[in-house]
Symmetry: C2
Subunit: 561 residues, 2 copies
């Protein structure tokens, strides 16, 4: 049973002790004497952090993941040198923007040395991820390390339970596979409380800000991953996505992030909120600075045959089909799916993507899907099906308060949970929505020039340009993909530009939510903020989604030249 751990200590004290314990794991040489004031230095990801590193460390940490692998798997770079550089940069990054829940640099260095010894002896890499540092959202259990998932009450326990014999011993299936593949795990990253909100906030570390603009938030719930990778403190991280938790922070920090369909990658043995509530499933996926990095990670995990170790993974190896050459592709374009009008930079991003697609000789059609409003409603009902018993139970372990939108969704007390018939009705509604939506997708064969249904659709993830502290009633557009269980990839398109992205002052808000989104707008504040979109494929089409996202990214890069 769940127990209140250490009832004589307040949750504030426990959280402070935890922060201090993590901080103590940063070597003295890597401590920074002061953090610049926010207003003085909004962006600490680039030049600011570079001056605290050697040129060599900067070179290594600013190398894209697949290029790192080219070096580490050929012996050009040692795993040790690479790991050391990323540990150093992550340590500094965390001091600038709190983004780490757990630090295990010593274990990482020991592992890197073991890899180097292996390479020296066998003259080949141990696996396809040989020597690649990989960061993990703090839901994955790593031997020797705690998992708090942002709950104060989980400190010193295994998922809130004491004396399970699993504390700091049990490993998630993904972690076992990453180690087999030669990855060097070195830290676990912050997340939003209960892995539930998009606002990156929990009672251990508070907010996770965006390192690109510390007046804005990193987004969530995979907030620490996005912040860390944006600072180049990690070349590649693993997040999770229940309603947009990989894609939204990736988008807000100028990164790529894949939300695979459920059953593709192994969630076995990871911590989660609402475990067993299976109408919609949280999935894990990679976040990085290139599509190539995401592909390498998915391919590597699938090479481990995760379906032999996770009963929910389908036996589907990486499928190396050619999805893009020798034919004209069609993309559905969805500019807006609620009454909330996107900020100007997001609409401009959509226009840029259309131009890039058309410049490559491919086609765009309007995406006019059914049921988005119904699916947002359904997602809310599904999320709340247990009346908040799970989340309130974990909060009560320490007495810490719910934060961000959790009180709005779950109140301050657990409510009556749904019963078996109500849950079955949600399953059926979801299936019926999925069916209607897939038939809409099929029907687009009538509007494309090829006579085939669209290959993917592209849409905003959020209608706002940056996430502002204190403004947590924002609208998001990502969770439709989760209800549908489609594969989707967030990708960066542009950055907000105050001189170009001017709000239409004559616009009449269509609802309170629309007005809220307009009120969030601050051209000055948002100037320079990354703007991303998502590319969405059908269920389990991860390969195709990555191929098409890469195509669009290449098209955008071509346009910028």
């Amino acid at each position: 049973m769940a127990e209140n751990n250490n009832s004589s200590t307040s949750w504030q004290q426990s959280a402070a002790q935890k922060r201090a314990a993590v901080h103590a794991l940063i070597p003295d040489a890597w401590r920074i004497s002061q953090v610049p004031a926010t207003e003085e230095r909004l962006n600490i990801a680039g030049d600011y952090i570079r001056q605290l590193l050697s040129i060599r460390e900067t070179e290594i940490t600013e190398t894209e993941a697949t290029d790192i692998l080219a070096k580490t798997t050929s012996g050009a770079w040692t795993a040790r040198e690479v790991a050391l550089a990323f540990c150093h940069r992550a340590a500094i990054g965390h001091q600038l923007v709190a983004c780490l829940h757990e630090i295990f640099f010593d274990a990482a260095m020991a592992e890197a040395e073991r890899l180097d010894e292996y390479f020296a002896k066998h003259e080949k890499p141990i696996g396809p991820l040989h020597g690649l540092p990989v960061s993990l959202k703090d839901q994955f259990h790593v031997k020797g390390v705690e998992t708090t998932m942002g709950y104060v009450g989980w400190i010193g326990t295994f998922q809130g339970k004491s004396d399970t014999a699993k504390e700091k011993v049990f490993e998630s299936e993904l972690v076992r596979e990453l180690k087999e593949l030669g990855a060097v795990l070195f830290c676990k990253t912050t997340l939003a409380q209960a892995v539930f909100t998009f606002e990156p906030l929990n009672n251990i570390w508070g907010y996770t800000y965006s390192p690109l603009n510390r007046r804005l938030l990193a987004g969530g719930s995979s907030s620490g991953e996005a912040a860390l990778i944006a600072m180049r403190g990690s070349p590649l991280g693993i997040g999770t996505d229940y309603a947009g938790s990989i894609r939204v922070p990736a988008s807000l920090n100028g990164l790529y992030g894949l939300r695979p369909s459920s059953g593709r990658l192994p969630y076995q043995g990871a911590a989660n909120s609402n475990d067993g509530h299976s109408i919609m499933s949280s999935v894990l996926g990679p976040m990085s600075t290139s599509v190539g990095a995401l592909r390498v990670m998915v391919q590597a995990i699938l090479s481990q045959q995760p379906w032999l170790h996770d009963p929910l993974v389908v036996e589907m190896p990486w499928r190396a089909e050619d999805h893009i050459s020798r034919r004209k592709l069609s993309f559905g374009i969805l500019r807006q799916d609620t009454e909330v009008a996107p900020h100007p930079a997001i609409s401009r991003a959509v226009n840029l993507v259309i131009a890039a697609i058309e410049a490559m000789g491919h086609e765009v059609v309007q995406w006019k899907p059914p049921l988005h409003a119904e699916m947002y409603q359904l997602k809310n009902e599904i999320s709340a099906c247990d009346g908040g018993h799970n989340i309130h139970g974990d909060l009560r372990l320490s007495g810490e308060p719910p934060v961000s939108r959790i009180p709005m969704t779950f109140g301050t007390e657990p409510k009556e949970p749904m019963n078996a018939m109500e849950i079955a009705a949600l399953h059926i509604r979801k299936r019926e929505y999925q069916k209607e939506y897939m038939e809409y997708w099929n029907s687009t064969a009538k509007v494309t020039s090829s006579g085939r249904p669209v290959d993917a659709f592209i849409s905003p993830l959020i209608p706002f340009t940056g996430m502002r502290p204190g403004w947590n009633r924002f609208t998001v557009n990502s969770s439709v993909v989760n209800v549908l269980d489609y594969a989707a990839c967030a990708f960066p398109v542009t950055v907000a530009d105050k001189t170009v992205d001017v709000m239409d002052t004559g616009y009449k808000p269509r609802s309170e939510r629309d007005a809220y989104n307009i009120a969030m707008y601050d051209a000055e504040l948002y100037d320079g903020a990354p703007v991303g979109l998502q590319l969405v494929g059908r269920r389990l089409q991860e390969e195709k989604v990555l191929a098409l996202t890469e195509l669009v990214a290449d098209g955008l890069a071509e346009m910028r030249c």
Copy 2:
């Protein structure tokens, strides 16, 4: 909302009217004047039914499904002649052993004629199932035909609801695909009440007996399919399997029956009990007289890309890998998984299979899996999670009583349903059992000579030789596969032989259930009853399971030569 249809009529009257309406669809020329007394003629499947058919009709109907397709897709046989022969034989069969819920011979003949016209015009078949008659368990909606699923209260409605505009119009996705493929649908078959029990009994048609021995039952819940195919009134049928409902009746009637993993074949738009209760899923699968027939059906359905029309189907086309040649295979052998000792013929069947496998140069190892007892318990809890609200609701539409084991499981009144947390706990327990089981499977690499895990395991489906009316407290061994969601195929091995299959009179029953199973034994009654087993592969390994079942079947045939 569900409504009591026609409250002025008793359920007995409604059922009698339904029986009469179905009987009226049998052409006069096909009516038989009398059914022989059971004791006089136990087996009516072979010689008895043949004397009521022409030699040509017998030739056609006793041709195996893939051989029929060789004729119909090459134009050697017309679809019309084939359809007519099967309609005739099914009509006679139904009069001998009640096995049909719906008859639509006229629509079948019209479709067959359309296919013949297509062939005449295009000189090629319309699809891979061109002209193959296919029967369906009465869960699949076919245009122009009712679906009662054995519920009196569903007569004249759509799944118990009136004025839905779907009555006799809506079609299940499978049905749409079968029509596209060129199959000729001609009848729907009986099932056990609520698709829930293994005892083949509902309030419309009563028991479905085995046509091979009318003192025994056909098994369930896909009882009509098994009886009809055993009489050669259909070359291939589609059943469903939640806990063994394809495999148990297939086994009791000397047939092959595939239980695919969930998500492989399209259940979209089929009627079911407990729809939306998704911890364990009912799946559909083919039943026939050969493995080849099952394979053709699975391949044909997958060629329709069901994942584009059923959101729960995974994008996994037929995988044409070679699973058997050029290596030594290993099979786990499970003789018994509860305290209930199998009847002698079943143990002999296991020995025959071992001998066949070893004679082919392959290997058997003992299958010593964990958790079978726990999984039987879990399956019972999952089945009852709604407290019987769904089943009692459908029974109350007409006032008909629950039959067979339904009152034992659900009482006569709905009980308190489980809540969201209890349901989540069942999901977690299931996943944990699946995980432990798959790791056991992986661990068999240590005991095989190849150093690879076993390729499949083989086990009994039931510990008894035949199902006797009135003896419904029998034990079954099939549902572990459903909890694990593994692919499995029932296959015939031998027939019971009273001179060989002698019960050990010194055996001391280990429990009440064990004693019950022994008490069921009657060597005289069971003489000649088919005895089957199942071959079980991992999740979604339908191709491999079919290949290995065919290998074992060929090995058994070789031994009999």
